[in-house]
Amino acid sequence: MKSRIIILFSLFLSLFLAGLVSANPVGVYPSWALSPIFAFFVALVLTIVFEFIVYIIGIRKYGVGKLLLYSLVINCLTMPLANFFAYLLKIGSSSYSLLYFIIIELVVVGIESVLLCLLTKRAYWKMLIISFIANLITATIGLFLIVLF
């Protein structure tokens, strides 16, 4: 099980790095989305779902319903704010887009790990790893959706 998680983590880390190299600026919406707002809500739902999956894998012996609720609430808090700061920092048109994107993602990981720790009452360092992997996966998927479409 652990080796599968490590392989999965390595895959997404590699794809994430590849995505960073090749992606168009973050913050734009792919052509299949009807509008930026539609794209935002699709991204929010995908983020909630994928982070929920990571929570299930990483947080043992915890109610599935509660984990889904935590994913919903935490991402409804962090994702719009991350998008707002991406807008303020002009990610996509600034020369420092990549740096700002990484900083925002790290801040989101920090906040989400603290909230997870408070909600689940599990060890903080475990929640930090889970939050890091969850955000790595969702950031990677987001970047590739933009690149591929």
Binding site: I7, V21, V28, A39, L77
Partner: protein, 201 residues
């Protein structure tokens, strides 16, 4: 195990695609058009006001356009225009920058101000100038700037000490709700969950 990780990383690196940087407006963005107005242009009937469209990349000009009271220039976004004036009897449609008697108004502009995200309601910026006569020449003095928004409203800002104020609206209502309302609701829900969690002890 290490071999698996290496294979995954190697394959992923092969997947790197080079990004195409096209000369197009990115999805999720729109151009803010530029416009300018010279309020007292009709007070100088003996002169013709015009601009040369230059570049891109060099100072070679390729077109002359006359300036009227309100102007909405439309040319390639990487070109720049420079405004001049000249006595009416010296002007012709084939005028070139080195023509004798040409007066440089020291005013350059582009057809677009910038690109902004679709959450920004700004669609056009208009600079309003007045021609002022100096000791030996003329110049354009900026008086105010008008910002136009996609809901049909506009906003005027007086230019003081040469400084232009920024538009006061930069988010549509929908984005204000997304960026602030959803997190506020989520925060309240989080506080409720944490309090409930604490009481479950």
């Amino acid at each position: 195990m290490k071999k698996d990780v290496f294979i995954v990383v190697f394959l992923s690196v092969l997947l790197c695609l080079s990004s195409a940087s096209a000369d197009v407006i990115l999805p999720g963005e729109h151009a803010v058009k530029y416009s300018f107005e010279i309020t007292n242009i009709n007070s100088y009937p003996d002169y013709v006001f015009f601009y040369f469209i230059m570049g891109p990349g060099d100072d070679s000009f390729f077109k002359v356009e006359r300036i009227s009271e309100v102007n909405e220039p439309s040319f390639y976004k990487f070109s720049t225009a420079k405004a001049y004036m000249i006595k009416s009897n010296l002007f012709n449609d084939n005028i070139i920058p080195n023509t004798a008697g040409i007066i440089d108004l020291n005013f350059s502009f582009n057809s677009q101000v910038s690109y902004v995200g679709d959450e920004n309601p700004l669609i056009k910026v208009r600079d309003v100038f007045e021609i002022v006569q100096t000791i030996d020449s003329f110049k354009l003095e900026p008086k105010k700037v008008i910002y136009y928004y996609n809901d049909g409203t506009s906003e005027e800002k007086i230019i003081q000490n040469g400084k232009k104020s920024e538009p006061s609206r930069n988010l549509t209502l929908a984005y204000v709700m997304i960026y602030f309302l959803i997190p506020i609701i989520a925060l309240l829900a989080l506080v409720y969950l944490l309090i409930r969690r604490k009481n479950e002890k």
